[in-house]
């Protein structure tokens, strides 16, 4: 191959070898034992370098093997379809941002640092918590890191988790705590309301409890109502409190800071990120104004400082927590995070502003309630829980949900997430209008009728 647009020096090989003083590139690999040399081409890609035109065609072909849904999916489970403003896409496609690196050299990276600082600051206001890091991978891993933090702080071994939290987060949590030998204990939820069973919680919290985790709204979309009590009880038991939040819901409901929560986690996906088949997501992690907590935080944190001329500047702070300095004593091994997604969140929250976030949360509230109401109008269909909810909700059907899914599939609709044979979790946001919801309901009604008349 004599030229390639991404390999600029193919025509300079001779010159460069001459400067080095060797005859062949092979000479630079003479320290690699012959036995481990590959000596053949790797069987990757499509057998030859593709031109950009051919690559574009491959991308389009792959896309065409997916199904373009008729309306956005009615499935959530923690990450939901939302409209992503063009300004967000535009800013994160600025290549000064997207081709840059962790800002180790602050003087030349003030813009990036300030953008990340603003992300931290916007989330801090949303959560009413003072310290936010510059991102984790996603909600699940942020939760896991929060639990590891708690364990480092109080050395206790059990993490108390309600059954009604996101099961995907729970899977991640289980994976991450196995190395340290922590145990996960589950608290039942009330079958009527879908919210935490307080008696069971009180029964299970004890002196081994490193932290209590609650999710608001919970996995079923229902609001937990006894948070104050849970926090009080945990404090009393000297366990830490960790709360997972849907950041958009905070346009309407009380933020973790108001409850005196120690560590808040969540996902910024709902603040301006596309679904992207589940990644990149955007793990949020925040703590109270407390040195014990701050010192144990994982990840990058940007702070304000001054330069030699007393000008305001931004820099990474508290770096002595991090792996590249503390190695095995670091608070986490995290290096690469989700910085660009944090910037997307910052742009999104700046566009929404104080009023916009409330308006959007309201719109989602109304639409999801409309959808639930509409579904409940179908004979035999009922909400599974009777407490109020936001964005997501569980519906019980009189027929196996597989039948409904099949019917929806015929018109390229993605319904809810099947939870059991007769229940499914639906997600409705500002991208689902009345027509889309009505179509969903009508199709489900048909599916039920089909089964019942067959």
């Amino acid at each position: 191959m004599d030229k390639h647009p991404w390999l600029p020096n193919l025509s300079s090989i001779e010159d460069m070898l001459k400067e080095i003083g060797v005859n062949d590139i092979e000479d630079l690999f003479k320290d690699i034992p012959k036995e481990v040399r590959l000596n053949r081409l790797l069987n990757v890609g499509k057998g030859k370098p593709l031109s950009e035109y051919e690559i574009a065609k491959e991308i389009e072909e792959k896309s065409s093997k997916n199904v373009k849904l008729k309306v956005p999916p009615f499935i959530g489970a923690g990450i939901c379809p939302h409209y992503v403003p063009y300004a967000v896409k535009f800013i994160i496609s600025r290549s000064e941002f997207y081709t840059s690196y962790t800002p180790y050299q602050p003087e030349i990276s003030q813009g990036l640092l300030q953008a990340l600082f603003e992300y931290q600051s916007l989330i801090a206001e949303l959560l009413e918590m003072e310290v936010v890091n510059a991102s984790m991978y996603d909600w699940g891993s942020a939760l896991a890191e929060a639990v590891l933090m708690a364990n480092r702080i109080n050395s206790r071994k059990t993490i108390l988790v309600p059954e009604n939290i996101n099961p995907y987060h729970k899977e991640v949590l289980k994976t991450w705590i196995q190395g340290k030998g922590l145990k996960l204990e589950e608290v039942k939820y009330d079958r009527e309301t879908g919210t935490i069973n307080i008696e069971d919680f009180e029964r299970k919290i004890n002196d081994n409890t490193t932290a209590v985790y609650i999710q608001q709204p919970n996995f079923f979309g229902n609001f937990e109502t006894e948070i104050e009590h849970i926090v009080d009880t945990a404090k009393h038991k000297k366990a830490l409190t960790i709360m997972g939040v849907n950041p958009l819901s905070l346009g309407l409901i009380k933020p973790p800071g108001e409850y005196g929560i120690d560590i808040a986690v969540g996902d910024g996906q709902e603040l301006g990120l596309p679904l992207n088949f589940g990644g990149p997501l955007m793990g949020i992690l925040a703590v109270r104004w407390d040195m014990t907590l701050v010192r144990q935080m994982p990840g990058r944190i940007v702070g304000i400082t001054k330069d030699m001329s007393s000008n305001i500047g931004f820099t990474l702070i508290l770096q002595t927590r991090e792996q590249f300095i503390k190695r095995e004593k670091a608070t986490s091994n995290i290096t690469t995070n989700e910085a660009l997604m944090a910037i997307a969140n910052a742009v999104y929250l700046s566009l929404l502003g104080k009023e916009g976030i409330r308006e959007l949360a309201e719109e989602i509230y109304y639409r999801s309630h409309y959808a639930a109401k509409k579904l409940e109008q179908i004979r035999g269909v009922k909400k599974l829980f009777n407490s109020d909810f936001f964005e997501e909700f569980v519906i019980r059907f009189p027929v196996n949900y597989d039948k409904i899914h099949e019917k929806l599939k015929k018109i390229k609709i993605q319904g809810g997430l099947k939870l059991s044979d007769f229940t499914a979790l639906f997600c409705v946001t500002e991208v689902h209008d009345k027509d889309a919801i009505d179509l969903l309901a009508a199709t489900i009604e048909e599916a039920i009728n089909d089964v019942e008349t067959s």
Binding site: H4, R37, L69, A87, S135, T175, Q323, F324
Partner: protein
Amino acid sequence: WDEPLIFELSNNKGKQGILINKDERIRNEIKNMSIPKKLLREKAPELPNLSELEVVRHFIRLSQMSFGVDTGIMPLGSCTMKYNPKIEEKAPEITEEHHPLEDEDYVQGILEMIYELQNWFSEITGMDECSLQVPAGSAGEFAGVLMIKKYHETHNRQYKDEMLVADTAHGTNPASAAMAGYKVIYVKSNNEGLVDIDILREIVNDKTAGFMLTNPNTLGLFEEKILDIAKIIHSTNGVLYYDGANLNGILGITRPGDMGFDIVHLNLHKTFAVPHGGGGPGAGAICAKSELVNYLPYPIVEKVHGKYKLSKIPKNSIGKIATFYGNVGNLARSYVYLLGLGPQGIELVGKMSTLATNYLIAKLRDVKELELIAPNRPRKHEVVFSAKKLAETTGVTANDIAKALIDNGFYAPTIYFPPIIEEALMIEPTETEPKEELDKFANTLRKIVEMAKLKSENILNSPTNTAVKRLDQVYANHPSTITPTYRVLRLRREGKINYLK
């Protein structure tokens, strides 16, 4: 620029950067909210109120105060800051609109892409199977260490509680090992900068769970005794773990699997050109050989009767590392990168990046103040110079050189790493920087060294061409002044918070 904080731009009045679409028909049906009053937010969050123009202009100005590979060379050692071809930005078309829990029939294109990538990365690493669940390199490492742990536990070797790590290793290696509950044992390098085989033999014993190694190592040197190392580790049932951060210099030349490694993680944002995004998101792969494939994180895509399914769960899987399937949007970018290079191009990545490193060394070989360990060994992806001599004679340190480079319009190398080299400057040019740029970079470095000898204060005062001068790290971190958010600034001004304690 001197761009105010976004909070300071806001006049706290009815401006909004985006209109919310409201479905009035729905509002007519659902008239009230029924959230219990005690749950309601009492005070609206203190977000700024701004028009679209103000938000866009603010962040564009911030972007102009940033530096990426598109702006200039970023020779950060061990970071592999290569050019990210623009066509990669088309790749997320494949993934963007799809929810991870959709019916698999809706996402066959995505699954096929993941499946192909799993195979390609297995081929590239010489492993049997890969899971692309891990959103970044360190998550891959963590997964790898958990695999080692579970593997030994399954074989009732709970006594294996020590993880070996080279003293030149990336900080993530010991950190990952510690997160998995291992005791970390450092393996000293010899005076050639390579693993000291004799020391290794001494250290390895029944408690050795595994050895985490990069090859080439962080000095850019290939561990030529790698087969011996593998034999030693395997002799006590230890697992040899490959940290893929340094793969770029040997891509297509040799494979970890062929060297005797059992588990490999890849950083797709390094070797496979996913943009670094100012720190992330990246993407990763964790791959394993033989029995260890049974421990990989799930799910893995498999092809069943011509259909792709997310159904493969290795029988002893450690579980899931990320909430869904890793950073799939970025996997698509790597996919595009591999399509563009093909087998022929991929082979040249190793060759051309190694050529670039050694060319840069050659261009600087007469600068006596930049010293090399094992100067006669060829480097691979990167090179580490020691500016110790310069620091001793002029007071100009590696950090000062870094700041002077910035002042000349270049990004700085990684500094003070690996810790075994004093005043280290760790430079990774990659295969995508043109020779002309390498020449300019080498000349600037040479001039800085000369200036340091001639008039060191010029270097010590740098940078001066940047938005700010050197920053006060004490002020930044002191409990009385530490300011991690605007909220802290605000509450401190209002007298509502105190020292961080």
